[in-house]
């Protein structure tokens, strides 16, 4: 089981073309598995801020559940518009390949993220500051997303060579997905878990807007 999972991760990271062929359609479910497993691993580590004790374990579990939710639900929410836009610009025939590439990239992203988990653990052991811990995790997510673009580029290069419209659609996807994922991350917080607030799956008054908050913070800094 573990051996097969490791084999699969190496195929994903190397952007194995056989993962996204039409014949691989049935294997698609298998690509979801790494998202769940590795997403949970990073989530658990992310939730281990401020040490591990019985109370903290609950929060680690929450975070482990929430990271895969964050990635898959943001993906699902952005999907319908990607589908319609691709159809409209005449790229519907390639849609299957595009989707398989995007899912493989998503799996790649979580694998990279999990590989960065030890750094997060070390950071937690070394530094106390909660706000800096948030920033560090944001940096890890950013690193994983940017690195996963390598996989995406490998899969998309033949497509873009064939039809440059794919590049525009890809950019539209990255924008939409990013736009949704940022808000999703905001809604699903706490991931790291401020030790001063009680442990809960969702934070009280979590329902607000990431972009409005971001703007307010920026205004505060500038004033």
């Amino acid at each position: 089981m573990i051996k097969r999972l490791l084999y699969l991760t190496s195929r994903i990271l190397r952007a194995d073309p056989s993962l996204v062929t039409v014949q691989a359609r049935a294997d698609l479910v298998r690509l979801i598995l790494p998202v769940m497993v590795f997403g949970s691993i990073y989530g658990a580590v992310m939730g281990s801020y401020n040490g591990i004790n019985a109370e903290r374990l609950v929060h680690m579990l929450y975070a482990a559940v929430k990271v895969p939710i964050l990635l898959t639900v943001a993906f699902a929410i952005s999907l319908p518009s990607f589908f319609v836009l691709n159809t409209l610009v005449g790229l519907r025939d390639d849609l299957g390949y595009c989707l398989r590439s995007l899912i493989a990239t998503q799996a790649g992203l979580t694998i990279i993220l999990a590989s960065l988990a030890p750094f997060t653990a070390l950071w937690y052991l070394s530094f106390e500051n909660y706000n800096v811990a948030i920033l560090f995790n944001m940096a890890m997510f950013a690193t994983a997303s940017i690195s996963s673009r390598i996989i995406l580029r490998r899969y998309y290069t033949p497509l873009i060579q064939r039809d440059p419209r794919h590049k525009k659609m890809l950019n539209a996807w990255i924008f939409t997905y990013g736009f949704v994922a940022v808000q999703m991350a905001w809604v699903l917080r706490p991931f790291i878990g401020n030790p001063e607030s009680p442990i809960s799956f969702f934070r009280q008054q979590a329902w607000s807007n990431a972009y409005v908050k971001l703007y307010e913070i920026m205004c505060n800094i500038l004033q």
Partner: protein
């Protein structure tokens, strides 16, 4: 029902508006079926829009109100702008029939609503997770704006094709021009590429015009009927402005949670003022 959805799909794919498909001067689609699907898509987006008021403590009736009013918005906008489109279309001397213009409009509205409905998931997600009314106003304007821009681009490009096929002279010009473009390239090596003059993107050379132009948004022909095109462009502008203002007249769609539910609000201000004030409020200006 599934057949109608497939028809909408063929419009989106561009199959229904290829040069071969519109040879007889009109988009060959079942108008009634497309209209039903369009209304359904409108209902979906309307519900997505109303989610904000329903989820942030407002009246749940807003869901119903938005679902009913969103299809109405398109119907009334068409009602207001269709006569002038028909008149101007006749004025520029195009041979388009009224029925074909109408069919095309239904198809375009289908495209607009399909895009809006596909963005509905994002709108619902933000509706549920946001408490900023101004943000929701802008997000909905953006979603409808994207749908509108793409749908009206579809309309313009297809009108252009329809004008082309309905006029033998223009069609002849177009086919000749196409030959001129493709012939010298066919003599050269395979590596030659054509630069699409509208998008500026390189395309693989192909003698078959339909293989070269694949989507519903691509332009056929060239500058032969600039005049017709500019009339349509003006009309599209009018359509957008009327549509925007109509959405203001039919408001509330989103439903400010601080205000009581009402089917309609009193006459005041206009769409553009409201959008700017939402933007201003959001940025704290």
């Amino acid at each position: 029902m599934i057949k109608w959805f497939k028809q909408v799909d063929s419009i989106l794919r561009g199959d229904a508006t290829r040069m071969e498909a519109i040879k007889d001067g009109q988009v060959d689609i079942p108008v009634g079926g497309i209209a039903v699907v369009t209304v359904l898509l409108c209902l979906i987006y309307g519900i997505c829009m109303g989610t904000f008021a329903a989820s942030s403590g407002g009246d749940k009736t807003q869901l119903l109100a938005s679902a009913v009013k969103f299809p109405l918005l398109f119907f009334l906008t068409l009602l207001i702008t269709f006569p002038s489109l028909y008149v101007f279309n006749a004025l520029i001397g195009s041979k388009l029939k009224m029925t074909s213009v109408l069919r095309l409009l239904v198809a375009s509205v289908a495209v607009i609503t399909a895009i809006a409905a596909s963005l509905g998931t994002i709108v619902v997600f933000f509706s549920l997770s946001t408490n900023s009314y101004n943000f929701m106003v802008l997000l909905n304007v953006a979603a409808c704006g994207i749908g509108g821009i793409l749908g009206l681009t579809f309309l313009l490009k297809t009108l252009h094709r329809l004008v082309l096929v309905s006029d033998p002279y223009l069609l002849d010009l177009y086919t000749n021009k196409q030959k001129q473009i493709t012939e010298p390239i066919n003599n050269d090596t395979d590596a030659e590429i054509i630069i699409d003059e509208n998008t500026g993107l390189a395309k693989p050379a192909a003698s078959d015009s339909d293989e070269q132009i694949r989507s519903a948004l691509d332009t056929y022909g060239s500058r032969t009927d600039q005049k017709a095109k500019s009339v349509f462009k003006i009309w599209v502008f009018v359509f957008s402005v009327v549509g925007a203002q109509m959405s203001w007249v039919l408001r509330p769609f989103i439903g400010n949670p601080e205000m009581d539910f009402a089917w309609f609000r009193t006459k005041e201000s206009n769409f553009f003022q409201a959008v700017f004030s939402a933007l201003g409020n959001l940025l704290g200006l």
